[in-house]
């Protein structure tokens, strides 16, 4: 994907961020939590990438096969890795996947992903440059989307991960980065975050973010 130029525009999101943040939080007592096989690549709706590639064909030689979500979004699957492609949802939203013909795939649309795209961070991993969301954006987005999880254990997992990352940022002395990103959000997003912290009994973080709001 790097050679084809696609990696420049793709952002790694989801549970693999927790793995890649280990160097960022090196001076804290950071440990990676459960990481699934799913690696999510977030793409902008309008790619700067010029040209066309068939991602499925690119990955076929590595043993990946194509699968589809129930709503028709494309995923590449392998016993060791499952690759999903996502774009931010806009407007009222619908159940249809978002076509990215330049890459020969349909991506899944989800809300609140623009929070991540608007707060990027680059890291070097072996010979690759990966784009991740800033940990503050990652954590705050988790708290917002936790309310949309129907299953209790998923809600809990989102909040636990978000709170853990926020606490690590505070330990690292980056409280201001949390506040700056939080302050850029609309009021209803802020309320979701604050309520999630309150529901999780994360009172130190609750106090930091609920001051003068």
């Amino acid at each position: 994907m790097q050679e084809a130029g696609v990696l420049d525009e793709a952002m790694v999101i989801g549970s693999w961020c927790i793995y890649f943040y280990r160097d960022y939080f090196a001076e804290t007592d950071y440990t990676s939590s459960i990481r699934t096989r799913d690696i999510d690549f977030l793409l902008p709706r309008h790619l700067k990438f010029k040209g066309e590639i068939d991602l499925a064909e690119l990955f076929k030689d590595l043993g990946f096969v194509i699968d589809f979500s129930p709503k028709g979004a494309f995923r590449l699957v392998h016993p060791e890795l499952i690759i999903d492609f996502l774009v931010p949802e806009r407007g009222e939203g619908d159940d249809n996947p978002y076509p990215l013909p330049q890459l020969g795939l349909n991506a899944q649309k989800l809300r609140f992903l623009e929070i991540l795209l608007e707060n990027p961070m680059k890291i070097e991993v072996d010979d690759f440059t990966l784009t991740l969301p800033h940990p503050a954006a990652f954590a705050l987005q988790k708290l917002i989307i936790s309310w949309r999880r129907p299953k209790e254990e998923k809600k809990l997992k989102e909040r636990q991960e978000g709170i853990r990352i926020l606490n690590l940022l505070v330990t690292k002395g980056e409280t201001n980065s949390i506040i700056n990103i939080f302050d850029s959000f609309p009021r209803n997003w802020k309320m979701s975050i604050v309520r999630a912290l309150e529901a999780s009994d994360a009172m130190d973080l609750f106090k930091i973010l609920s001051q003068d709001k």
Partner: protein, 104 residues
């Protein structure tokens, strides 16, 4: 514990779906493998495949480079998919065992 069980349960669903996809990928490949025979200095090809208990050989004659490449590619992918299918199967067995296990 609930979070971990939830994650493992989802991984099991992923693996079950994946196994289905590998099965389909294997079924979609052209059948059989090429056997090359050298007769009086010329190469002739037979397609060998299993039908019920027997191995059958179907004469394909002289094949173009394009056709040869197609069969060899299919043979390579079949071997790859079979290996990965076995790997997914092992994952399913493991995950089912873990999810059946009692919580202490």
């Amino acid at each position: 514990m609930k979070v971990i069980r939830g994650v493992l349960s989802e991984e099991l669903q992923n693996s079950l779906q994946m196994r289905k996809r590998y099965r389909q990928a294997l079924e979609n490949l052209p059948r059989g493998s090429l056997v090359e025979k050298n007769i009086r200095g010329r190469k002739y090809y037979y397609l060998a495949f299993r039908e019920n208990e027997k191995v059958r050989f179907v004469y394909k004659g002289k094949l173009s480079e394009v056709e040869l490449k197609r069969y060899r590619e299919a043979q390579k992918m079949r071997a790859k998919y079979r290996k990965l299918y076995r790997q997914v199967n092992q994952q399913i067995i493991f995950l089912k065992k873990v999810l059946r296990g009692k919580t202490v």
